[in-house]
């Protein structure tokens, strides 16, 4: 017998490798540094691609003058209002369609025929109906949020385990309580998938609507400085949008963890 031995190693250790925290900021930092150097070396004209520092310093002017705040407030009001309305109505209608076979049979074809329409195409019509104030912008966002939330809620309801519903009924639940205590929590993970999807749609519609018909708002601001060819301020607006999207997503993520502690 030879004395040589061969230790068996974990071949899938890479699956649970721990990554240090700084890794997540590494990519962005490198990108920004690269960007700054390219601009400093005058490889591209500043009109096409201004340096990050130039964007930030012009952005600072926008903030200091209070102009930015006006735009942000206008945008936030629209998106928060539209999103809240669209999501709430979407969840409620989704629950009803999922629970009632009659409602499902009657309304699902209607939903599926309106769903594929790019909602921004409806803006002129909605302006005709609601006038040119804030209402049409809020409405178009609500509409864009409504459909993905509704469809996800509906499929979430359909995927709730039938035995859980049977269990609830056996232990004395009314129909309303079955919806509230079993179907809603059971569908919640899928509902959140819809809410996240809708966040992207909401931002897209916000900017489009503001570019088409608004004086204030990040979208209007980006368009305005684009027309004036002030690229720094345009880019600053774009950065604000990216930040807004990020915050939106984080917020939903936080809410999801709060509301679904059993996962």
């Amino acid at each position: 017998m030879s004395e040589s031995k061969k230790i068996i190693k974990n071949k899938v250790a890479f699956l649970d490798r721990k990554i240090p925290r700084y890794a997540s900021v590494l990519g962005i930092t490198v990108l920004l540094l690269l960007w700054e150097t390219i601009c400093r070396m005058n490889l591209v004209p500043p009109l096409f691609l201004p340096a990050p520092t130039a964007i930030l310093s012009d952005g600072w002017d926008l903030m200091a003058s209070g102009e930015l705040m006006n735009h942000i407030t206008a945008s936030l009001t629209r998106i928060v209002g539209g999103y809240a309305i669209g999501a709430t109505v979407g969840i409620i209608i989704g629950l009803i369609l999922g629970f009632s076979r009659w409602a499902d049979a009657i309304f699902t074809p209607v939903v599926y025929s309106i769903y594929p329409i790019p909602k921004i195409a409806l803006l002129p019509l909605i302006i005709l109906w609601l006038g040119i104030g804030e209402m049409p912008k809020v409405a178009i966002i609500a509409l864009g949020v409504f459909f993905p939330v509704l469809i996800n809620t509906f499929s979430g309801v359909k995927s709730v385990d039938q035995t859980l519903i049977k269990a609830a009924v056996t232990f004395g639940s009314s129909h309303f309580n079955v919806i509230r205590k079993v179907i809603l929590p059971g569908a919640l993970p899928t509902i959140f998938a819809g809410l996240k999807l809708a966040a992207g749609t909401a931002l897209l519609l916000l900017v489009s609507a503001e570019m088409i018909a608004a004086q204030y708002g990040i979208g209007a601001m980006v368009l305005h400085y684009g027309n004036l060819m002030i690229t720094t301020k345009l880019m600053f607006g774009v950065m604000i949008l990216s930040l807004l999207g990020l915050l939106f997503n984080r917020g939903l993520h936080w809410l999801e963890n709060k509301l679904i502690p059993w996962k």
Binding site: T163, L164, A167, A168, T170, P261
Partner: protein
Amino acid sequence: MRIVVENVDKKFVDNNKREVTALENINFTINEEEIVVLVGPSGCGKSTLLNIVGGLLSPTNGQVYFEGTNDIEPNLGIVFQEIALFPWRTVFENVIYGLEERGVPKKEREEKGKYYIDMVGLTGFENAYPKQLSGGMKQRAGIARALCIEPHLLLMDEPFSALDAQTRTIMQEELLTIWNRTRLSTLYVTHNIQEAVYLGDRVIVLSRHPGKIKSIINIDLPKIGRDSEQYRDQFEKYADEIWGLIRHDAQEALKEA
């Protein structure tokens, strides 16, 4: 209070639009404090029958009723094969679900919840979510949930079939201890013959295609301690008798699957 199952038939229409008779002419009663066990090969209609008794399925013919209710609304407690705990509720919240739906005051809910959680041996896990429990613990919580409403009839559909053999043996013993304290009339479904003889006062053997009562066997052994040496011979005799009744059907079932 007795539960009477009278002339129950159940026909299903299968995917090819053919009529399948799942149950035919089922008649039996469950007396007070009695454990009735349904055994039979896979697909003989045990679950169907239990669901009909539990009010989760309508019979095609016949009826199921409580007799001698003295105008009390009878309660049913069901322990599901799939366990069916609400994943978003903690053990305690699951156990008191039925009380909550009946509008029982908070203080009483807490007392009863605590009492039954203790009875099934889950004290200390009140605030755990189902996914944090082992299979045996989950089923204990399921049993506590059914006991908590203090039902007039307890229905159990193969409650231990998903558990490993050791846990299963322990749970069977615990179930008898619990029965000894609660004295609930129980309808218990299993395909395990040893389990049927161990738990049942009466064992109903179902045949297949259509599901009919083949035989009803009274188990004349004391309720507690049937697994002791002294009863071994009689225990085996009952088990053999039941196996003799089921064997042919079980083989047929296997061929079809």
